[in-house]
Point group: C2
Chain length 260, copies 2
């Protein structure tokens, strides 16, 4: 069983991509299921096979602990870790080839709470990977692209999951703008050039410094362009996931042999 | 009028620090007021002088738009930008020396939505600065410290505010642990050494690469240790803010002269 965690800021298209990815794998004759980890979501574009809302109820938490929506969402997300065993058992019973894990709408509730890190690290399967979604609405300037790239790297370090960076909802972007975004993401020199348009000199200098640092170390965000609407880029995404998952499996087996 | 935005992950101690900072300035005979920008908060440790909840009601949004708590929080946060003029007028009427801006509990609702960036950039005052809080509960390993440092830098680039990084709630940390955290934050070589304890070799290598990059560019997170409970570190924090605010004022005046 492979697990694919879908991460990204609120509104970046996590749930839609989760449903499309399952459809994709099913169309390739793999058995893929969805796991919804967002206790506060009302409508989902798919019917989750395993659903944290069966174990944690926001309404109950709001009334039981007399919390507002904000506090209830935080507490509910923290409770996810307590339900790991039950969720794991339910997924294991289904015994799928792939489990697509849809994380809470607000990424902070998963990525920057202890429970999310615990879940990502402790969930048992043969290999794990994650998709981090760059929302085109948020990467509308070179500085903002660099900002979201740092966020993606921050979450990569925190959750410890292999990660593919995806520019989502590309059906909403004009062709030339899309080409520029993808080129900038793959080529720090190009992004640095684009940064020069930034008026705030201090921010420009900080941005260039960070870019230079990343570049010297050969770190590139290299975005994959994907549309959940038109399926454009889905082949590339599935290929990137397959490579990461196979590699993850090798590494884990290798570790076991080394320490045996 | 100076504005100080308080930023950080949920539970990092933003609201408590906001109330303490106002008390601090008042004790120095400055006129400081609080501006609460969290539409979803129930209890605050202070009585806000200006309050976004007067303009945006989560309950109304939940019933009017038939949204769950998650969607209502997002929509409410997006509406903050629409209320900028009214909020600005109300703050201007008070005409304080300092306005301490307490941002939404979940930083994502402010930092990674268009409205927060708009508010931070368009709010009018003589100079702005921000405090980003590192929650000691989240920086419990070298990798996690690097992760939160990247998050802080991501938000710095996005909001474009001068930023001081603060390790909050230090009354909860043992003295030797605190000393180690502060040293690691100021010295990338020390943090790199601490990273070697990380078992995941791939994450270790990524972490070291990022650190090397930042180090070569002279970028250090240099945390200030502050306790809102004991007031420890408050003098240093006020000093750091004063330097940034004065510099911000100079730069803005300088810009005006250059383009005049």
């Amino acid at each position: 069983m492979y697990a694919v965690f879908i991460l990204g800021t609120a509104g970046s298209g996590k749930s839609t991509l989760a449903s499309r990815l399952v459809e994709w794998y099913v169309s390739k004759n793999a058995y893929a299921v969805t796991l919804n980890l967002d206790p506060g979501v009302i409508d989902l574009p798919y019917e989750p096979d395993v659903d944290v809302r069966e174990y944690v109820s926001i309404d109950e938490i709001m009334s039981k602990y007399r919390l507002g929506p904000n506090g209830a969402l935080i507490l509910a997300s923290d409770l996810i870790a307590d339900r790991l065993d039950e969720i794991q058992r339910k997924v294991d019973e289904l015994n799928p080839d792939y489990v697509i894990v849809d994380t809470p709408g607000q990424m902070e509730l998963f990525a920057y709470r202890a429970s999310g890190m615990f879940f990502a690290r402790e969930f048992r399967c043969d290999a794990k990977a994650s998709i981090f979604l760059f929302d085109p609405m948020l990467v509308n300037s070179p500085l903002n692209m660099l900002s979201i790239a740092l966020l993606a790297t921050s979450i990569r370090l925190r959750l410890g999951l292999a990660q593919v960076n995806v520019l989502s909802k590309i059906d909403l972007i004009k062709k030339d703008k899309l080409a520029e975004l993808i080129e900038c993401s793959a080529d720090p020199a190009r992004l640095e050039y684009a940064l020069q348009r930034e008026k705030d000199s201090e921010l420009y200098l900080l941005g260039v410094s960070i870019l230079k640092g990343l570049r010297r170390q050969g770190i590139s965000m290299g975005l994959l362009a994907v549309s959940s609407l038109t399926y454009e880029g889905m082949v590339n995404l599935a290929g990137a996931l397959a490579r990461m998952l196979r590699e993850g499996e090798d590494v884990e087996n290798g570790d076991e042999m080394n320490y045996a």
